[in-house]
Amino acid sequence: MNPILLWFHKMGSPPTFHAFASRWAPWFFILSLPVLIFGMWQGLFVVPADYQQGDSYRILFIHVPAAWMSLSIYAVMAINAFIALVWRIKLSETLAMCCAPVGAAFTFVTLVTGAVWGKPMWGTWWTWDARLTSELVLLFLYLGVIGLYAAIEDRRAAARAACFLALIGVVNVPIVHFSVEWWNSLHQGATIKLFRESTIHPSMVLPLIAMFFGTKLWFAGSLLARTQAAMYELESGKDWVRRDMEGRQ
């Protein structure tokens, strides 16, 4: 077996994952903090004000990375849900279920900061615009996954049902992303482009990149920590948990 496949194979075993998460989750949190603080400091105090929006645009350095996270966490959740449904791997189920609250939190932050930005710039907290509405649907999808997982007594059956919902909901991800192109939207289009020249001022890119990597690192830590706790609870009758508990006393 090749080493990468072997690694994934081993990681499927709950005690191995537990040891891995114990070791790495704190590091992801520790690494993400200076990156996030740097990004926020740059966004708040260093980059110049926007020529049209003045200082209100500084919300961008929270709003946009949070929105990126709301979509990428959904993708991580859907991929894990797919693996869980096809290969019935308990760890993937748990990973998928632990993505949901973090994704919901980032989506919530996106919506709140969007509203707080919309008030001074658009003159309204909320409008039923394609981008805003599809992002709200994303929040409901996350809440649906959390709710469905909590509503069914049998943990494995609950995870399967919620994984199905997560997988079906993935159609909403491109809708959120392309909504500003497909429909006439009050929301502005993308200014950071991978394949064409970005239309954002270069000085504003550095804090955005910092926030991009900072939130990714943070999510890695958060997902490991959440999944570790959830697996520990799910596996509480097993020998490895018993041994781990005895080792702590």
Binding site: M40, F45, R58, V102, Q228, A230, S236
Partner: protein, 59 residues
């Protein structure tokens, strides 16, 4: 840094505060859950040990 007194300051600070509050929540949730699970398991193990000791003494 003149935006500290800018008309948009409340909006900007609210956004950053919401984000930081979310991170704090996200950091604490798994720690609290792990602690709760370990506490419950510890209780359960002590109960089982006590029961085993009782039945051991009775036989």
């Amino acid at each position: 840094m003149n935006f500290v007194l800018d008309q948009y300051a409340p909006y900007v600070w609210t956004s950053y505060a919401v984000f930081v509050a979310m991170l704090v929540w996200d950091f604490l949730m798994p720690q609290l859950r792990m602690r709760k699970v370990r506490r419950e398991l510890g209780k359960q193990q002590r109960r089982e040990a006590a029961r085993a000791a009782r039945t051991g003494a009775g036989s």
